[in-house]
């Protein structure tokens, strides 16, 4: 009877622990922040609105946060720069929409390109997304996107892995007829962040995120600050594993005790 009770309790505990680990992983994965929804109660950090102008160089890049929509009016041929903070274990997708000048004023097709650079101004690869796209002469707009690799908390200095910090977005036309230079265009840039969770949690972390000194203002960091990279659902998995292991140990121990009196003990003893 005792064994049965222990067993049930053990199974229940194991199930609970698993459920905990499972939901934690689930929430971590589905935990995309929506900064536009909550303006935040504590302080000036969250007040900064999305920029309506773009910078024209790394130094003057306009900061925005994932979830915000940064817009800008520009001339075709301008190099437009924005900068956004991306934290560890996040996978960011940058999307840009360029509204082209009226097609009557244009003389041919143009090719637009979206580039993403990290806080050290190293170009970051797009794992998927249309980074560069040609717009036909009659097209009204071009849509570009770039999904980066998942940002890791730390990497070896020789690696080009994406690290937490500022990410620069550069949007420009790379090919167009000479006559079409300088025509008015509108550009909008957004970034979606997907939390990848502990699958990408690595050992070691930067002491300070790769935020360039030229990026100022409250939009230089994520809404709730930099995570520091120590938290991941690996803690939950491992803790759950420990609990389950202990329960399994108790179960294994109880198996060796058998049920009731030991069979080898003579009845008269």
């Amino acid at each position: 009877m005792r064994t049965v009770r222990t067993l049930t309790a053990g199974l229940l505990a194991a199930a609970a622990a698993l459920a905990v680990a499972g939901t934690a992983a689930g929430t971590a994965a589905a935990d995309t922040p929506s900064p536009s929804a909550t303006p935040g109660k504590d302080g000036a950090a969250a007040e900064a609105a999305a920029p309506t102008e773009a910078g024209t160089s790394f130094r003057t890049a306009a900061p925005f946060r994932p979830g915000q929509k940064a817009t800008a009016g520009a001339s075709s041929g301008d190099y437009l720069y924005w900068v956004l903070p991306v934290d560890a274990q996040q996978r960011v997708t940058v999307k840009a929409t360029v509204t082209l000048p009226e097609s009557a004023a244009r003389h041919g097709a143009s090719t637009w390109q979206l580039d993403v650079y990290d806080g050290l101004r190293r170009r970051q690869a797009c794992t998927y997304g249309t980074q560069s796209r040609a717009a036909a002469r009659e097209a009204a707009s071009v849509e570009l996107s770039c999904t980066l690799r998942t940002v890791r908390a730390g990497a070896e200095p020789w690696a080009n892995d994406p690290l937490p910090g500022s990410y620069y977005v550069r949007l420009t036309v790379v090919d167009l007829p000479e006559e079409d230079l300088g025509l008015p265009v509108r550009a909008a840039v957004e970034a979606d962040v997907h939390e990848e969770g502990g699958a990408f949690a690595v050992d070691g972390a930067l002491a300070k995120p790769l935020v360039a000194g030229t990026v100022t203002g409250s939009l230089r960091e994520p809404e709730d600050g930099w995570s520091g990279g120590w938290w991941s659902d690996r803690w939950l998995w491992t803790a759950a594993g420990g609990v389950l292991g202990a329960l399994a140990g108790i179960f294994g121990y109880s198996l060796t005790r058998g049920t009731g009196r030991p069979s080898r003990v003579p009845p008269g003893a």
Binding site: R121, L181, G182, W237, A248
Partner: protein, 427 residues
């Protein structure tokens, strides 16, 4: 569970806030926007004879420009010091030498008196030649002095008529002075030659080029450019790299600018203490017509020339800059062998910046292309000893292994104690 997560997140935030507070981002000049000095903008307006043409929304180019100026003058941000310079406003004759000197300051760069500025603009009538080069030189003089952001907005409807002084080269020379000056150009209904010249001027200084077909575009764009001047921006400190590491300038954390011609190497030195991480990034601007394929290389070497780490980037096609960067965390020294020394010695790291830009023979190579170098020294990263965070496991395999290990341990423990009991019983 959610509460626990939130707690953890909050603790995290607190930790981050503490960290930020304890290590304020690079305590250098680079961190302070030079917003104390008012930004200066000089509007340079072409008042040459061709501005009479009636092709902007039915009105003359001059009328469009005047209207735009009035709107801009009304909307200038308070902190911006605005000046106006004209070219081709006075001399209507045929003498080229006289016509090419015809540029003057219409309104002095300084705090803006709106009515005064508007009256000055109202007096303008399309007259003479188009001396863009001399006008740019004049505008650069108007803006001289101070470390503030400077911007020239050039509005013209025709190409420069004062060869051999190439306005594009004038612009590049002005930019090479390192006075943080950007020239934005606007062409009114431009032809191919004007466009080529204006894009060249803009490219040479990191500015923008706009082609204007409508009145509204003109005032909107000029206002945008003037507003841009008001944005706080960190200006770099000019430095000059050496030909080799010995004798190279010693740099601290901050933002630096330099010039480098095609195929040139520039060296800089940075002192890195044990336990510190050096972060350097460099961008080289393609400020002239360059060949289609190019590259940039940033190397960190020891004073003896051994390469520590490098950053490199290559590209092709139209671009404004090409950039790369590197990190070098210097390991902590062991306490065992140098416990007597109070302060560990800093290592001198040599940074080499080189490029593989090239240009057609017709393009002038001097002054060199603009180089922007950022140096940051921060605490070194935490140790990288395991692939996974803190060596923690994740996933069903981890759970299975732990459960199996627990089960086996329990069984073995049970058998051992059972065996001990039976031994005790038999005794």
């Amino acid at each position: 569970m959610i509460t626990r997560k939130r707690l953890a997140a909050r603790a995290c935030g607190l930790f981050a806030a503490l960290a930020v507070g304890l290590f304020p981002a690079s305590a250098t000049a680079a961190d302070e926007p030079t917003a104390k000095e008012p930004p200066k903008v000089d509007l340079v307006l072409d008042v040459s004879g061709s501005m009479r043409a009636n092709d902007i929304d039915g009105g003359s180019r001059m009328a469009a420009a005047k209207q735009a100026f009035n709107e801009v003058i009304d909307a200038v941000p308070a902190e911006v010091q605005l000046g106006i310079r004209t070219l081709g406003a006075d001399y209507a004759g045929d003498d080229r030498t006289l016509g090419c000197k015809d540029t003057k300051q219409l309104y002095k760069v300084g705090p803006l008196d709106r009515t005064e500025a508007k009256t000055a603009v109202a007096t303008l009538a399309p007259t003479g030649w188009t001396p863009i080069g001399p006008a740019l030189l004049g505008a650069a003089q108007d803006l001289e002095g101070g470390n503030a952001t400077k911007r020239i907005v050039l509005i013209t409807d025709g190409e420069d008529t004062c060869a051999p002084l190439d306005p594009c080269e004038v612009a590049r020379d002005i930019a090479a002075k390192g006075i943080h000056l950007v020239i934005d150009t606007l062409g009114l209904v431009p032809d191919a030659k004007t466009r080529a010249q204006l894009t060249c001027i803009a490219e040479a200084t990191g500015g923008t080029y706009t082609s204007v077909q409508h009145k509204a575009e003109l005032s909107g764009r000029v206002r945008q450019l003037v507003d841009r001047a008001a944005d706080p921006v960190v200006n770099p400190v000019a430095t000059e790299g050496a030909k080799q590491c010995a004798g190279a300038p010693q740099l601290k954390a901050g933002l630096y600018s330099d010039r480098e011609t095609f195929g040139e190497h520039r060296w800089y030195r940075v002192d890195v203490l044990p336990g510190q991480e050096l972060r350097a990034s460099v961008s080289i601007g393609a400020d002239r017509a360059v060949n289609n394929d190019y590259g940039v290389l940033l190397r960190a070497t020891t004073v003896h020339g051994r390469e520590i780490v490098r950053g490199s980037e290559a590209g092709d096609g139209r671009t404004d800059v090409l950039s790369t960067g590197l990190r070098y965390p210097k390991a902590e020294v062991d306490d065992s062998d140098s416990d007597s020394d109070a302060k560990p010695a800093a290592e001198t790291v040599c940074l080499q910046v080189s490029n593989s830009f090239s240009a057609p023979a017709s393009v002038k190579t001097t002054p060199g292309m603009p180089v922007e170098l950022t140096i940051d020294l921060v605490d070194g990263p935490g140790g990288l000893s395991d692939a996974a965070a803190f060596g923690l496991g994740r996933g069903w395999w981890t759970l299975a292994v732990l459960v199996l290990a627990g089960l086996l341990a329990g069984l073995v423990w049970g058998w051992i104690s059972r065996w001990r009991i039976s031994v005790w019983r038999t005794n």
